[in-house]
Subunit: 190 residues, 2 copies
């Protein structure tokens, strides 16, 4: 949901692979809007590598890319406070793939930016939950995937309630009216 | 170079296939900055289809996508004056693939926009040459291709000098300092 500053602006390919193996145990898959994704038991987030050719139920591909909306001061604030993925304490995660409406993509850049931050407070909202909730945004619109974005969040079990609050508040924004399809996949690791 | 408004904001995949067959005869391939592309005799621009699996020298892939910088009034001005590709009179074309520097992509959105239009006049410059020069911008940065953009221009032989002027003026802008690799491929059809 929030754009990833710093090194994550570079292109890093990712594959989310759902099946019977993987680091993360899938706790639930919920269709928030539109069609859900098939059930699976485990999920892996694989960066920088070719996706496995073995057996899996489904896979979603994306890439980290340049920031599309944040200005310099917002980037600086995000970089100052956020923490990276893979923290030992982050035993919970969420993968939330999102497809926005054609109407959203037909908006010019300045109007998308105005809805994104001035009227929805996307960046400032996310900042309230840093560094507890670490996140990365993967783009997949240009790849011909079924979603436009793959949003990935990691947090400690004790921050799970705060994460629910963040997701709920984001879904109440004007920006979210432009979401056509959203699936919420919750994960845990031991 | 100029972003494509209207229907071209939707995702349309393209492959440029260079080899010994194709609609367009390659007149010359020039490395403007960085490494060139291998020589070839003919080129095809194939939209909406899988690229051919036959013999070819090289292929470049891209997609039309949403506009990244233009505001609503700029979109309207572009839409009012531009014409589509494939005009019978457009017997000349140019394919100019461009890779921008990491420094460019690390800039926040507002600073890229300021360089793009306020200081380089990218949109207003292109408007001066419409509708004579029709163009489409394909994105390929997220696809893991060797370039960030594939810019495609079509024009009548009598507008060739004006096209040279447009390209020369664009290369003199501040924005062009962020170009790391650029190849200029000139084409003609009968």
């Amino acid at each position: 949901m929030i754009e990833s500053p710093g090194a994550q602006r570079r292109r890093v390919p990712v594959s989310f692979v759902a099946g019977v193996t993987g680091l993360w145990r899938i706790e639930r898959i919920t269709a928030v809007r539109g069609q859900s994704l098939p059930e699976a038991v485990r999920l892996d987030r694989i960066e920088n590598e070719h996706p496995p050719t073995g057996t899996f139920h489904w896979t979603l591909r994306g890439v980290t890319s340049n920031a599309r909306y944040t200005d310099r001061s917002e980037n600086s604030r995000l970089e100052a406070v956020q923490e990276g993925l893979n923290r030992p304490s982050a035993k919970r995660a969420a993968l939330i793939p999102i497809l926005k409406t054609p109407e959203w993509w037909d908006l010019p850049q300045d109007e998308r930016r105005a809805i994104f931050e001035a009227r929805s407070g996307h960046i400032s909202l996310g900042l309230e939950y840093l560094p507890a909730v670490a996140r990365t945004l993967y783009h997949c619109r240009d790849l011909g995937e079924p979603f436009d974005f793959l949003t990935w969040f990691e947090f400690a079990p004790e921050d799970a309630d705060r994460f629910e609050e963040l997701v709920r508040r984001l879904r109440e924004t004007e920006e979210w009216r432009y979401v056509e399809r959203e699936v919420d996949i919750r994960l845990a690791r031991e």
